[in-house]
Amino acid sequence: MNNITLNKNLKPASEVEPVLKVRDLNVAFNIPRGQAKILEGVNFDLFPKEILALVGETGSGKSVTARSLLNLIPGRSGETKGQVLFAENDLLLMSDKELQRIRGNRISMVFQNPQSSINPVFTLGEQIFRLIRLYLSAAVEDLKQKTHCSQKQAIETIAKEKLNEVGLTDIKRTLKLYANEISGGMAQRYRIAMALISSPEILIADEATSALDVTVQAHILKLMKDLCKNKQTAILFITHDLGIAAQICDRVAVMYAGRIVEIAETKKIFANPLHPYTKGLLKAVPKLGKNEPLSFVPGIIPDLVNPPVGCRFHRRCDHIMNICRKQKPESLKFEDNHNVSCFLYKQNHKENRHE
């Protein structure tokens, strides 16, 4: 029931203009051993009102993707190439000053460890008031005139309203607390409230629920889902948990060793995974209530300083062909809303066309 409504929200790609277009994103880090090609040719679109899951294992480059969108890779020397188109501007070409106007304003981020991403020396109230003053000055003035209250009262009213939206209770007390005095679930909700104050067009959630307990995670996931529906925010949800992808996301992009190997609607990718890596990954995940035997892809993620030529997965792949060792597989459109980067489907693709 629920999933039907969700799928209705998802309009075909051709009708809606994506809010974020990532084209051929390449990121390389300079490390002592040489240059690690962390991302190679990442392409995806993020549509308004959708939750796109970026799933992958450690070292697949999913977090780097998110951070490089806003040029948030600190303390690393390296190079970033490609295009990140947001509102017809290339974010990668922007100066730091211009980016600052977008970060936290039109594109917000929520990180894995909520407590450490809240400044510990100010109370929660002080921090959220500052943001309200920064982004919602018009609303504050409005409220002041309507209710004839002081600036401080107006800001507090708005803060309470915003925190109420994310399901925090006992807000008056909460505003006086410090980061170390609240639980992880509360902290993450508070972070989300902060991220939403500027009504961003895009919310990037980088493993936002991985440090939380399942019952708390359920709250946060529900919150995100409602948010996407009600506020029309597009969410890029970076996670290693395929369960989350299956439960709340509209589309799923699977990353392996710095490339997106498959991207499709959630139902399609789980029902009919195409890429051998996606297949392997799905079989490795235990599903509650279905005690299927687990299997796994042998081998480990390749060294990104000397990545394998051709398809980066070929050394672990069961269906290896000669071409896989030589050529980088392009993204192929298997069907509507289902793209895969694998030579196995190139032939099928052509055959299909001939018929």
Partner: protein, 352 residues
């Protein structure tokens, strides 16, 4: 309908009179805020009144949220955490009060694998040193055979023996966890506690480690206590599961029936909160109200009552007694029979 469930549940005959490990009224309390005279101002009751049997050859799952005391319980069984009161029996002998040298032979028979494989290996020790430290406890191995045994152990956990003189940081997370398993096996144990042993690993690596664990269990006739917060993994790995909440074990059932027919409201809530990696079974994730109670001051009566949808007056007053479902399963809830008759706990799927 539930009658069918009931009869199906008794799957295998087990020797309950002679469990490998038997816990009786185990309490693990940590003193806090000691005054000058050394008297604690209050106790953190990490584990309270736990009764549990671990049967030889089984893999018992222990599931719960962070801070519910599941790790502490594992450590208490291995005598790493101080026992406040109660009895821990290992193969019929009370080891709860043993200490020092007397405990050493039991240490060899019970081992542990921790969550963070990187942190549980000394970065300055080669794998050989790590393993020989453990082999020292194995009286059946002579010192001059340590290298040979260590090579054997690495082979047992599917690692390449050539790497034995390498340092832990030269291995990946999954390989480090294999080394930890090899270390645990080196003492020739009967019982191994896996404390969130796969939680830090990627799914495909996790699947590898789990299949290794299962093979080893069969090969070496081991008994496992598998502690995890991840219900999907627990269901997959374990034969029987104990659910823990705020220091108490509230329900024990066979893995198959626990998630189909939870008997405790908390188990149901936990199950409904798990995102299942299958969009076909997409559901409204269950929301549990409130927060986990503080272990220093747990709620009166049933620890779960402030968050329970079915609570009544008695819940906050009286500690629920154990209701035996069958030989291996029991639940701790005042209204378990009533809830069971109404069927509110099992048909959670339909209620959406």
């Amino acid at each position: 309908m539930f009658h069918v469930f009931y009869t199906n549940k008794i799957t295998k005959k087990t020797d309950m009179n002679n469990p490998l490990i038997k816990l009786e009224q185990v309490n693990t309390w940590f003193p806090n805020n000691k005054s000058i005279l050394g008297k604690p101002k209050f106790w953190i009751k990490a584990v309270s009144d736990v009764n549990l049997n671990i049967i030889e050859g089984e893999c018992l799952g222990l599931v719960g949220e962070s801070g519910c005391g599941k790790s502490t319980l594992g450590r208490t069984i291995l005598r790493l955490a101080p026992l406040y009161s109660g009895r821990i029996e290992f193969m019929g002998e009370d080891i709860g009060q043993l200490d020092g040298k007397v405990l050493k032979p039991y240490r060899a028979r019970m081992q542990m694998v921790f969550q963070d494989p990187k942190a549980s290996l000394n970065p300055k020790m080669t794998i050989f040193k790590v393993l020989s430290e453990a082999l020292h406890l194995n009286s059946s191995v002579a010192k001059e055979n340590y290298l040979e045994q260590a090579v054997k152990l690495l082979d047992l956990v599917d690692l390449r023996p050539e790497h034995i003189f390498r340092y832990p940081h030269e291995f990946s997370g999954g390989q480090q966890q294999r080394i930890c398993i090899a270390r645990a096996l080196a003492t020739n144990p009967k019982f191994i506690v896996f404390d969130e042993a796969t939680s830090a690993l990627d799914v495909s690596v996790q699947a590898q480690v789990i299949s290794l664990m299962k093979n080893l269990q069969k090969k070496l006739n081991l008994t496992y206590l598998f502690i995890s917060h991840d219900l999907s993994i627990i269901e997959h790995v374990c034969s029987r599961v104990a659910v823990m909440y705020a220091g108490q074990i509230i329900e024990v059932q066979d893995a198959g029936s626990l998630f189909d027919t939870p008997r405790h409201p908390y188990t149901k809530a936990l199950k409904n909160a798990v995102p299942i990696a299958d969009p076909e079974s997409r559901k409204e994730l269950g929301i549990l109200k409130g927060e986990v109670p503080k272990l220093s001051d747990p709620p009166s009566g049933c620890h779960f009552h402030p968050r329970c949808d079915y609570k009544k007056d008695i819940c906050s007053k009286k500690n629920p007694i154990v209701y035996k479902i069958d030989e291996n399963s029991w639940v701790r809830c005042h209204f378990q029979e009533e809830l069971w008759q109404q069927g509110v706990l099992i048909n959670s799927k339909e209620s959406l």
